[in-house]
Every structure is written in structure tokens, then in C-alpha cells.
Symmetry: C2
Subunit: 184 residues, 2 copies
């Protein structure tokens, strides 16, 4: 961490989001992002491999979820293990307004969408691996991650819509809704 | 359909798959694919927009599912509507051996993986739209498509492993497995 740059990463993310929104992803250069954040291009590349990376801090999600999965009680079923790990999601997400704007910018840009999907698949693979390491068979682990992801997505969606319930409660409600859809 | 070219599309797919497997996606040109299929590059572009497209006939999936969803009994719950549509999946899929090889080739190539993910998201969006057109609210439609996709993926996985059950039965079994994971 280069302290003297004062939240360089956050400033670069914010600058990139504003520029992508106002002039499009394709029309924005790394130089412009750095300039708007009052930093050098060199700083930019200290934090991000390329322009596409700037909106993706998803690695933090794995760093947040995986230790919790590893520490879960032995023989706990896979979905409760995932949901307990997901409960800390709001600690990793950016502020709500940023998440909403980010989603809109990504939806408008195929290259960003592709990157997001790849990141999601890679996160899911790590979750599946973490569950199989706990002794669940592959098909069950994969299914639990699919189910868990659907629950997480719905809970995040409601959170972005302004629902300020405890995130564990949002996950529990989304799980009940998923079960209702699955059994009906 | 250019009949005189005798299954040109299938031959191009097969040729592309062989070349991608043997010499990698990046190392293969459209000219090589056409040559191996005993066709011209011009023929290739009659069927596919670019090299990445050649393994993706997913539009056929939407063409197969959407009419079934539209024709479903009014007031039928969303998941049974999706699963009834998915039952015809094997009619659209290529032969099992092709599907298995294709999955391996895609997994080995990030550009192909990205294209597959984008296609999947786009198919899912059309499924969500088809369900909301039937009067289901957006969150329920989205959740049903997430749940339905997880069930479909597991059923296809078991089909590629050689399970020759009726596909509707594979879907029903996968649904029960999903419910077990969701409620445990």
C-alpha cells in the first residue's frame, strides 16, 4: 500500500466509473482515468493490470469467503456453509451507489460484461473446490454453488434496491424464495 | 440452407473442433477450418460471423425453448414451464461425443469461454423475458431461470456422462437433487 497516494485505488475506480459512464468504456483511456484521479498512469498500473480490471475487485470476494468455508463446522451441509460465508458480503462490496452505477456501466459494455462473467465463473470454481475439499462430492458442490449464487445475487439485488436488513436475513429470505420457486 | 454443400455447417463445426483441439484456438485460422471441411472461406462466413462463432449454435436453444414457454398453460408456475421447455434439449444438442469434446476445447480457451458465457447470459435474459411476458414478476422470473439453468446444467452433465434416461426424467431427478441441497 502506497499510503502517500491516499486511497489511490478507490480514486481510480471512481474516476474510471465516471468516465465509462459519461464517455463509454471504449472512448476512455487509462491516461484519462489516471488524470481524473489526479494520479499518474504508473500508479494506475500499480493497482490494475489493464483498463478492464479497474472495476473488478472480485478477488476480495474469494479472500472473504474462502477462509469462512474452510473454518465451517465439519459435516455442515454445503449450502449453509456457503450462506454463512456470504453473510459478510457487504463488508467487501463498495458503497451501494457505486455498486448500482458499476452494474449499469458493465451492462452497457460487452468487454466489461465478459470480464465480469469470467470473474464470476472463476469465483464459483474456487467455491466448488472449497466445498469438495470439505468432502462433498463434485455434483453436489457444483449444485450448491449454483443455488448459493442465485441466492446471493437476489440478496445483493434487494440490497441495491435499498433493503437495509441484516445481510444474513436477506440471504435467508432469498433462500426461502428460491425454495418456493424450486418446489412449486 | 445451401443443400448442395451437404451439411456444410456440421462439417465446419467438426473441422473447427478438431483443429482447436489439436493446435489450439489461437493457432487455427478460418482458412484452415474451411480447407479441412473441404469448403471455401466464403462458405464459412455464410454460416458464421467469425472464428469464435463456429462452436456456438446456442441460438437454436432459444428457438427451441421460447415457443414452448409461450405455449405453456396459463398460470402454470415458472419452473415447470421452463423444465417442460428444456425437455427437448437433446434434439438441439450435437451428438454426445461432440458436446464433450466441445466443452473441453472451450474450457481450454479464454476467448471461447467468454463467448459461451455471453451466449448463456443472453439466453437466460430471453428466458426471463418470456416468463415475465407470462405475468411472473421480474425477481421470480430471474430466480426461476437461475434454478432452471442449474437443473439443466446438471441434467446435461449426467447425459454427457452417458446417462441415457429420458431427458425429462434427468431434469426431474436434477430438480429433486437441487431441492435437497436448497433445504438441507
Amino acid at each position: 500500500m502506497a499510503r502517500w497516494e491516499g486511497n489511490a485505488r478507490g480514486r481510480l475506480e471512481r474516476a474510471a466509473l465516471d468516465l465509462f459512464r459519461d464517455q463509454g468504456y471504449d472512448g476512455t483511456t487509462v491516461a484519462q482515468i489516471a488524470e481524473r484521479a489526479n494520479l499518474t498512469e504508473r500508479s494506475f498500473y500499480r493497482w490494475f493490470a489493464d483498463k478492464r480490471e479497474v472495476l473488478f475487485a472480485d478477488d476480495d470476494l474469494a479472500a472473504c469467503y474462502l477462509p469462512s468455508i474452510e473454518a465451517a463446522p465439519p459435516r455442515q451441509a454445503p449450502l449453509p456453509t456457503l450462506l454463512a460465508a456470504f453473510a459478510s458480503t457487504p463488508d467487501v462490496l463498495r458503497p451501494r451507489e457505486f455498486v448500482v452505477e458499476r452494474a449499469a456501466v458493465i451492462a452497457a459494455s460487452p468487454p466489461l460484461q465478459e470480464r465480469e462473467l469470467i470473474k464470476m465463473v472463476s469465483l464459483n470454481r474456487r467455491l466448488v473446490a472449497a466445498l469438495t475439499a470439505r468432502g462433498h462430492d463434485g455434483q453436489t458442490a457444483y449444485l450448491a454453488v449454483d443455488v448459493g449464487s442465485a441466492i446471493l445475487r437476489l440478496a445483493i439485488h434487494r440490497w441495491t434496491l435499498g433493503d437495509d436488513s441484516d445481510f444474513a436475513a436477506l440471504l435467508a429470505a432469498a433462500r426461502q424464495d428460491l425454495i418456493a420457486v424450486a418446489v412449486t
